[in-house]
């Protein structure tokens, strides 16, 4: 999947997250979270899993997390990527 433009998904409500994506030369993931200390590596794992699944290798992903569970992280990242790839 090719990322051709900027897009975002999610909300800043509790248990949710905002995901911003934009085209980039390489893979870059930046995470802000209310639970960053404990969970940053797990959030990163979830983001990378979705990127692999959708075969995205060149993108900048910025995440602002409000304590979202795995299923929500994966959903928001997927939605943002699909929006950024649409023609």
């Amino acid at each position: 999947m090719n990322i051709t433009r900027r897009a975002s998904a999610g909300t800043m409500q509790s248990s949710d997250l905002m995901v911003y994506v934009e085209p980039a030369e390489q893979l870059d993931i930046q995470i802000e979270s209310t639970v960053k200390k404990q969970f940053e590596h797990l959030i990163r794992d979830r983001i990378e899993a979705v990127l692999r699944q959708l075969a995205v290798t060149q993108v900048l992903v910025k995440v602002s997390d409000r304590g979202a569970l795995d299923y929500a992280i994966e959903a928001r990242v997927e939605t943002a990527l699909r929006r950024a790839a649409e023609a």
Partner: protein
Amino acid sequence: MVIQQRLRRTLLYVPGNMPGMLQNIPVFNADGVMIDLEDAVPLSEKDAARTLARNFLVAFPDRSKEIFVRINGLDTKYALDDLRQVLPGRPDGIRLPKADDPEVVERLDTLLTEYEERLGLEIGYFSILPSIESAVGVLNCVKTAQASRRIVALAFGAEDYTASLEIQRTRSGEELLGARMQIVWAAKAAGLQAIDSVFADANDTDGLRADTELVKRLGFTGKSLVNPRQIEVVHDVFRPKQEEIDHALEVMEAIKKAREMGTGVISLRGKMVDAPVVKRAARTIRTAVAFGLIDYELSNEVIYGQE
């Protein structure tokens, strides 16, 4: 034969695009929930909501309650994507908005069959809860109720219905009476449950109680809800009262005596007890047993007499 249907007193709407609400589904004590992809989700977020709902369903396969998904109407460009995304998460059923005629239910039935084949599920796995929410829907609902074997209940959508009539919805609800009766008749004639509309003001507990007591008297078996705070009130209204249970048990004792005397009718404190009275009492007892209020074994011989 009496088919024991699942209790559906309370079906709570949960907005499909709010993780904070979705992940509370396991702890809500409603009989069922309806994950909403339709009115609670703005057009710009349809894609996000269906992806989130699907991921939630896949992540929480152990269900303590029935889960419906309210998709967008089959006349919109969103409905097919809704189904494609959420059905692999195996919800129990689909709440179909704008079920204006039997044809739209038949169309959904065909689509569900295709997905069941694709997903390797038994045919009939997904149920349908058609929502009657317009004048034409009310007029057609007798046939709509019989359009598919997947239908478990008819639901009423009073907000859209009053909009279609270009009238105000009032707190007391006189304007809904005709439509409600038609829906109850259509449901009962088809052997289905009838689920009444939401009561939108979550702060008006007295109004909710009065509205629920009214629809219970009319024949509805449950209600759609907009707020978890409404669950307990509705459960309380549908819970059989102690005096109703006591009376039903007295009726059973009276009819037992009547049968012993070789008759099917007897007087209980001056009031006639015959077959329909016994049937109603049996229903009260069954409901009380289902609520865990009493322990009682009903025998068909007592209810219907010996052949």
